[in-house]
Amino acid sequence: MEQKIEIQEKEKSVKQDHTVVDIQQLKKSFGGNHVLKEVNLQLRKGENLVVLGKSGTGKSVLIKCLVGLIVADEGKLQVLDKNVMELEGKELNELRTRVGFLFQSGALYDSMTVRENLEFPLRRQSKSKSQEELDALVMEALENVGLSEAVDKMPSELSGGMRKRISLARTLILKPEIMLYDEPTTGLDTITSKEISTLILAIQKKYQTSSIIITHDMECAHIVADRVIVLNDGKVIGEGTYDELKNSSTKEIKDFFE
């Protein structure tokens, strides 16, 4: 009996060790609008977690809280063993370099070429890198997304799908341990959406990243998800694998799969 308890505790501690994001009772309001009411979720190492939810249910707010872009009102927000709500300045910036964030719009810097966009985070993190080293890292990141020929183009010369891929390359160039994707396939055609979803999966396998993917795109969710949670009215209403949730009897969850 004692041995069994010991094994259970050991398993529990291993599981906790592998939790890279731990959110408990997270709350966020904007004025009288309670966007996140009581969100609890854990992201495990190497896992792709898809967050589904209708527009305005606070999905983007949730991942912005994780990197301190939005300050949560209450709750526990542990990312890579750091309490985000207590971090400031240099410590917060250090954590941010370990967490990649792909914005919905791509957020490429319009006034810079693709090369300058990719060099930007590198120059800020490690000023001692030579130009040759920077070039090598830039080319490696672009080859990962299959766009090495776009290195000297301006963002305005790129298509929507290319912009997303370049943004992904810029995010990956710092080799983050966690990736946060804010609607990575929004505004893209079906074929390009599928390509981006496959790329997300390939990146997870290559770099062993843990990812939270916010999406409405069920095909993307199906391709990338190891686990899915459903947000509704600021709360998690369902959690499981894609197939488990597909067979759920809860109306709000079923609606996504129909």
Binding site: N93, F101, S105, A107, S111, P121, R124
Partner: protein, 267 residues
């Protein structure tokens, strides 16, 4: 008073109260923004490359506009003043009068207003569009302080470039005046500039130069504040650019009024 009139009056009172509230919120917002600027400007990292790039954009790319305007100011001022001065037999005072007017007042203020239009709106629109397309957030999550990279560099560049542009504009304006004098008369360049320098004193030049640093600072900070805090999508970008020009122009006049008072006391 009818019920309808009472409702209209009440709604107008509420609107006035809201406008007053917005005004104070704006003032406190700018004060906090300026406070943050001084809190961060002295500490590393110093974004020297971006500062140089912004100085090039703000300074070099405004040269032709400021130069042409300065030339026209000097020329027009001379042509307009000439008949009146001739009436009093004081044509020889034209170089001195134009120099004092240009250097003390017209040069700095007109240059600042042109820069408020060109540079203030440019900064407001650029930062506004970066804000609504999440580029500022992207900078922040990559571990860069966007305030240092975007705001401090632009404000410093505007603060140091606008005085240079004003001096250039005034110098070109004096050449414009020289041409204006020579349209109907014949005055040598040496005589013209001897007259100019004889009529100028230190008190005409230094306060005028010092106030252009304040003009530059205010144009930069207002443009950055409006852009950095813009929202409501593309509509917000337009509004940021527009209100940056309006507010910066108004503040230029207010600073000018204060500077004139201080200079008068010194004299």
């Amino acid at each position: 008073m009818s019920k309808e009139q009472m409702v209209t009056e009440e709604s107008s009172d509420r609107q006035s109260f809201q406008n007053l509230k917005n005004f104070f919120l704006e003032v406190s917002g700018i004060a906090l923004f300026v406070g943050r600027f001084f809190k961060e400007v002295f500490f590393p990292p110093y974004e020297l490359n971006e500062f140089t790039k912004q100085s090039y954009i703000i300074g070099y790319r405004s040269l032709s506009l400021v130069g042409i305007t300065g030339f026209i100011m000097g020329l027009v001022l001379t042509i307009q003043a000439k008949p009146t001065m001739a009436e009093f037999g004081a044509e020889s005072w034209i170089p001195g009068m134009v120099a004092v007017s240009l250097i003390r007042e017209i040069g700095p203020v007109i240059t600042a207003l042109i820069c408020a239009g060109k540079i203030g709106s440019g900064i407001g629109a650029e930062l506004g569009s970066m804000k609504v397309t999440e580029q500022i957030d992207a900078m922040e999550v990559s571990g860069t302080n966007p305030f240092k990279y975007l705001v401090i560099t632009r404000v410093l560049a505007a603060t140091f470039m606008i005085p240079i542009l004003a001096i250039l504009s005034e110098t070109i304006g004096l050449f414009g005046s020289y041409i204006g004098v020579n349209i109907t008369g014949q005055v040598s360049l040496r005589f013209f500039f001897t007259q100019v320098f004889e009529s100028l004193d230190f008190i005409d030049v230094y306060p005028a130069i010092i106030k252009t640093f304040f003009f530059g600072f205010i144009i930069g900070i207002v443009g950055c504040y409006k852009g950095y805090n813009s929202n409501k999508g593309t509509e917000g970008v337009g509004a940021a650019a527009n209100s940056a020009v309006v507010m910066a122009s108004l503040l230029v006049f207010i600073i000018d009024m204060i500077a004139v008072q201080i200079t008068s006391m010194m004299m």
